[in-house]
């Protein structure tokens, strides 16, 4: 019981610190770029919109604390969302070629009239490419693991489908999805315009997600 309460509290805390796989032009980041605020619109599993905030740590190599939130479109705005909190930093930089690694904790929620799912997980991502002050192009590979999911079923589920359904936390892995893609962007003044496109592949199932492609448009504003 204590574990459940603690984990629920953790989920609530995390829900106030978000990211959706932040993408920056690492070539345009200067020592004075302390904060980056961003917004995203696109398709990831469904039509989504998101916001993010990133704080540059005062260390030699660029490293950001990443936070953000994305939500699918629909009538009920807050019933489904995905959030994360983590770190993203530059591992390698030579002749405008940058290697970036990010690790985020994920908390996401799904609700419809049958169930509410709360899932905690991890997201690993590496991007590698050419980053210049005005533009960048890079490949991205990521792995998102849904470590554990909490199920809370509605009265409708219990009445119409299964009265003895077991609510609670379920063991790993409830989901594991790879993504492969490319990202490119154009930078001007303190802004980045970013485009990402890629493909999802589940690792926990031979059946892939229904629409296994993602495409997003993003805008970043660098704040000193």
């Amino acid at each position: 019981m204590k574990h459940k309460i603690y984990l629920s509290l953790l989920c609530v805390v995390l829900s106030f610190h978000f990211a959706t796989g932040q993408t920056y032009n690492w070539g345009s980041i200067t020592d004075s770029s302390k904060h980056i605020a961003g917004a995203t619109l696109g398709w990831e599993y469904s039509a989504i919109a998101g916001v993010n905030y990133n704080y540059k740590l005062p260390v030699k190599m660029p490293v950001f604390i990443q936070t953000g939130l994305s939500m699918p479109f629909g009538k009920n705005v807050v019933d489904d969302f995905k959030s994360n909190l983590g770190l993203g930093g530059q591992l390698y930089n030579k002749n405008n070629f940058h290697s970036i690694f990010a690790l985020n904790t994920i908390y996401k929620r799904y609700a419809n009239e049958l169930v509410t799912l709360n899932q905690v997980g991890l997201d690993f991502k590496t991007t590698n490419g050419i980053y210049k002050s005005r533009w960048f192009v890079a490949t991205e590979i990521g792995l998102e693991l849904g470590l554990s999911t909490h199920f809370k079923h509605s009265k409708t589920y219990k009445q119409n489908i299964y009265s003895d359904v077991q609510d609670g936390w379920y063991k790993p892995l409830s989901a594991g999805i790879l993504n492969f893609g490319v990202q490119t962007g154009y930078s001007f003044q303190e802004s980045d315009l970013i485009f990402r496109i890629g493909y999802f592949k589940t690792i926990t199932s031979s059946a892939n997600v229904l629409i296994p492609y993602y495409v997003t448009l993003g805008y970043n504003l660098k704040i000193k």
């Binding site: 469904s46 799912l117 489908i161």
Partner: protein, 322 residues
């Protein structure tokens, strides 16, 4: 940084104190092979969840539920025909509802027809006992497939909105009945859940497809479905197998229907904008002798929501052939 590492470690540790997706009965009901107390029959190499109502010597009405992959729970009102002098047989088709699960390669159209033959033979008490089929949606498609293959075995049939007696008709019906609107709550409720439950085991697949069921009765749906209706378990593997067969091989259950001289009955819900009289007539006209009737004030799930409107239409039809 230390706090983040602590949080991650805590999450990983806590995931050890949790329930198992694959434990029967946790997320979806146990099937007949997992709970022997459920009513079932052992036929054609599988265990089917099945019940009967009425005098077993009376004319038999076999109900074929929709889907593919659904079950007979929301069609159980057909047991009312037992009060009218019929022997009513209901069963969850192979791999669906509370019937035994099977892997995808087991499912073929012919397997479903063989299962139906085996169910009829299991319950039949005499060779001259009349057999009627009552199919709803996919079950009505299967009814057509059975008559197309074995026109001499069936004394009459009721078709409640078959989704398409061949691939072209299925596509035509599908285009109007199940439109995905990318910015709607109903669509996102179907698509967004996939990132939460991307496991491959039968139970997770069945559970996930069950969670998507509200899409069918979302507000403003074209099929005029009034709201949720009960079911036990959607058989995801059987559904996926039938979709693959439809997409890769196609199907046509109409090639021999013109040899079936007995009158058949097609019924459609007044509120199903995707079906209607015109589609009913298009499907019924593959038979040389047919009747088409509207069920007022309901849609595709007419048997569950408006059985009192269905019974007065199907009973006279059955009685004329009894």
């Amino acid at each position: 940084m230390k706090k983040i590492i602590y949080c991650i470690t805590t999450i990983i540790l806590l995931t050890g104190c949790t329930k198992d997706y694959n434990e029967p009965g946790n997320l979806v009901p146990k099937t007949v092979d997992e709970d022997a107390t459920l009513p079932h029959i052992n036929v054609n190499g599988t265990l089917l969840h099945s019940e009967t109502f009425g005098n077993s010597d009376s004319a038999m009405v076999v109900f074929l539920h929709g889907g593919p992959g659904a079950d007979y729970r929301n069609g159980i009102n057909v047991k009312g025909l037992a009060d009218e002098g019929y022997f009513v047989v209901v069963y969850d088709q192979r791999g669906t509802g509370l019937s035994q699960r099977h892997n995808k390669e087991v499912f073929t159209i012919q397997t479903y027809l063989d299962d139906l033959s085996a169910v009829i033979e299991h319950y039949r008490t005499s060779t001259n006992q009349k057999i009627f089929l009552f199919g709803h949606s996919w079950g009505a498609m299967l009814t057509a497939a059975y008559i197309n293959e074995y026109p001499n075995r069936i004394a009459g049939a009721i078709f409640a909105e078959p989704g398409g007696l061949n691939k072209d008709l299925l596509d035509e019906y599908g285009e109007t009945s199940r439109k995905l609107e990318p910015f709607s709550e109903a669509t996102n409720d179907v698509l967004y859940t996939q990132q939460f439950l991307s496991r491959n085991d039968h139970i997770t697949l069945d559970y996930r497809i069950g969670l998507q069921s509200p899409f069918s009765y979302a507000k403003g749906n074209n099929e005029g479905i009034e709201g949720p209706s009960p079911f036990w378990r959607n058989g995801a593997v059987s559904l996926n197998a039938m979709i693959d067969i439809s997409e890769n091989e196609g199907f046509d259950f109409t090639t021999n229907l013109d040899t079936y001289a007995t009158k058949v009955l097609f019924i459609y819900g007044e509120n199903n904008k995707s079906y209607g009289e015109s589609f009913a007539l298009k499907e019924a006209s593959y038979f040389p002798n047919y009747e088409v009737a509207q069920i007022n004030d309901t849609g595709h799930e007419m048997i569950y929501f408006k059985w009192n409107n269905v019974l007065p239409v199907v009973l006279p039809y059955l009685n004329t052939l009894k």
